[in-house]
Symmetry: C2
Subunit: 391 residues, 2 copies
């Protein structure tokens, strides 16, 4: 067979991050490389109780096939929680997905023909780059500034015929950057003006530990957009439960694509998550996570100020799980990585978050999955590596 | 936007079966339409115990992100069980998937470029038609005879440049047909000779209640093929856990596609299934299912012989969950469906299982999800509808 694999497989690569995680399995290495929530905060006991109740009360139906749209009770809970964030969402406009990664896959299926222009942030979320790449779009990137995308670049991309704009306006992965209120409104105004579909990915939005909560870009858009959410960061990622909000015409297409992808999301997982949400005070739980991540982030910034040279700049995230560092031009974080591993500390080089081979001098640091003692020791080690590297 | 949706969405339709299931929600209707396992046989208590043990022993890690490849212990169990069926499978060649539907999606991603020729059985499995359609291949169908595919048609399709052949050799959905030993060998010989990738879907293989177990086509293939399996029919479908076996070069590509699709299958669901498999005698459980389905199938065939006119022919499945009926040419099972619904009985018209708009006079009957009393009453009602319809 001359063409054994589909052409698209030539452009899609195994996640570099997941490869790095193998290198960092060494327990002596302090790793800021992963993107994991802190497992100490997982509600294990409450999930155990929820699961016992599910098996006792609706055992057989929790083990059966179910609808593609998802558990009606769970969708009602998701809708209800948006009320608290000032959004009126019809439960029938919510589709439960197998993690929010699946949303990216089904959105690509529904919207992207080969060569379609999809706008992403630079740096951009790796999972989206991977999911979209399968459908061979043309990536157009816009610089991410401290308060959101560069609007001139964004408008130029829209004028040039972009089909959709995928973004993470709250505490973006990888940069930790959040959009200002002004830029949220401006982005919505631009997507409306140019008829570009806005796909708002918001896995971290509830994890704000500094500043004021801001409305979603989705809430400012007049043309129907897509809003994505997830239980992974507020409850636990092991269930693989995310969701997407979309108006009916789009929703119906997403359901067809979801059905073709995996029929439906795990009935058992949805039933346990629903029961957990019904029986527990999720808002207090989220407050606990925010408090912990806030302290860990504060510690990381303080340690960076102490141990990194002044020539390295960092973002100051107001929420989420990541912080982004930029070294002077000409230095490669891939080379730094090798040095850091010798010093028993790890991070993710920034390069994979760029589709244009730039970003060589950047790196991503995760603060959610290390306590303050490990952050202090890890940043000290990394400061040593960086200082000797930049000398 | 002139092209709001991707071109592919024009050719993919919502599952007709899932639409039918809505019509049949009326509790007075006896439905042979669904494709559900019998929930009375779900191991609810054992799953409850397994889940308690998981939360008690590995709670936090069962709630965390995990590897794309899947739980190592679960993969070892899957490999071990193949031994009992005469196949030596390396656990590292097993990728856990979100149901076996996902295998079809990731196989399509890895292998199918637009316009590639994919061979399927006529009638064919609807989930595969849907999953593949997203990637816009050209479907080439081969007639399914009582003992497997028509070999002349298959060879002609292979000669004409087919890239892969997707088939369900054991108790096929929708027809209930199984391949004879001779046809298994012949299919393997043809795929080898023409270098066609064979994708063997085997969700029902362990549910044989008549005749002798036969080796998989996969075991006869010299060129590496793909073997798919699932816990949905032997344990419970609500977990959405399937798996695919493939040799390394293909495996690595499947992992990349899976990662882009949903990162990994639910950690919690995999942990509970693994514990369930470790602590219970699955072989006795499968024996229980086979006994029940065997009796239900026997009852259905007997009732059909009693109540259907002789002009309607049926398959005589030796396992699985479905039986296939063919009316004389010129009669439409879509029209019969409307009549049957008035008589409070439902089935699936055969048309959606054909990609060429044929099969108008065929219908699928499910026997796994109705007890013998309901089968007797339901087939009596359907016999009445058919008799008046064919008059």
């Amino acid at each position: 067979m001359p063409n054994k694999f589909a052409r698209r497989m030539g452009t899609v690569h195994r996640s570099f991050i997941r490869e790095i995680l193998k290198v960092t399995a060494d327990s002596e290495i302090i790793s800021f490389a992963g993107g994991l929530p802190n497992p100490e905060l997982f509600p294990v006991k409450a999930m155990d109780i929820a699961s016992r109740e599910v098996f006792a009360e609706i055992g057989a139906s929790a083990l059966q096939y179910s609808t593609t749209e998802g558990d009606a009770g769970l969708r009602a809970i998701i809708a209800k929680r948006y009320e608290g964030r000032g959004l009126t969402i019809d439960p029938d406009s919510i589709l439960v997905t197998t993690g929010s990664q699946q949303i990216l896959d089904i959105c690509a299926k529904v919207f992207l023909d080969k060569g379609d222009k999809v706008v992403i942030e630079r740096p951009g979320y790796l999972g989206a780059i991977q999911a979209f790449s399968i459908f061979e779009p043309e990536f157009v990137t816009v610089s991410l500034e401290d308060d959101g995308p560069n609007l001139e670049e964004l408008e130029a991309a829209f004028k040039d015929g972009a089909k959709c704009f995928y973004a993470v306006p709250n505490f973006q992965n990888p940069s930790g950057v959040s959009y200002s209120l002004e830029k949220r409104k401006a982005v919505a105004e631009l997507t409306d003006r140019y008829g570009v579909l806005f796909v708002e990915d918001d896995p971290y939005g509830e994890l704000r530990f500094l500043g004021e909560d801001l409305p979603s870009v989705y809430s400012f858009c007049k043309t129907p957009g897509i809003l994505c959410g997830s239980f992974s960061k507020i409850a636990a990622p092991g269930f693989r439960i995310g969701w997407v909000v979309a108006e009916k015409e789009i929703y119906d297409k997403l359901v067809i694509a979801k059905q073709a992808s995996d029929l439906h999301t795990s009935t058992v997982a949805q039933a346990i998550m629903r029961r957990y949400m019904e029986s527990n005070d999720i808002e207090s739980h989220v407050a606990l996570i925010k408090d912990r991540y806030g302290r860990q982030r504060e510690c990381m910034v303080e340690m960076i100020n102490t141990y990194f040279p002044d020539s390295v700049s960092i973002t100051k995230p107001e929420g989420g799980m990541f912080l982004w560092a930029t070294m002077p031009e000409g230095f490669s974080s891939m080379d730094l990585f090798d040095l850091a591993i010798k010093d028993k500390v790890a991070f993710v080089p920034g390069r994979p978050f760029y589709t244009d081979d730039s970003g060589e001098n950047t790196l991503r640091l995760n603060f959610s999955n290390s306590d303050e003692a490990r952050i202090e020791e890890g940043i000290k080690r990394l400061g040593k590596s960086i200082n000797s590297f930049l000398e």
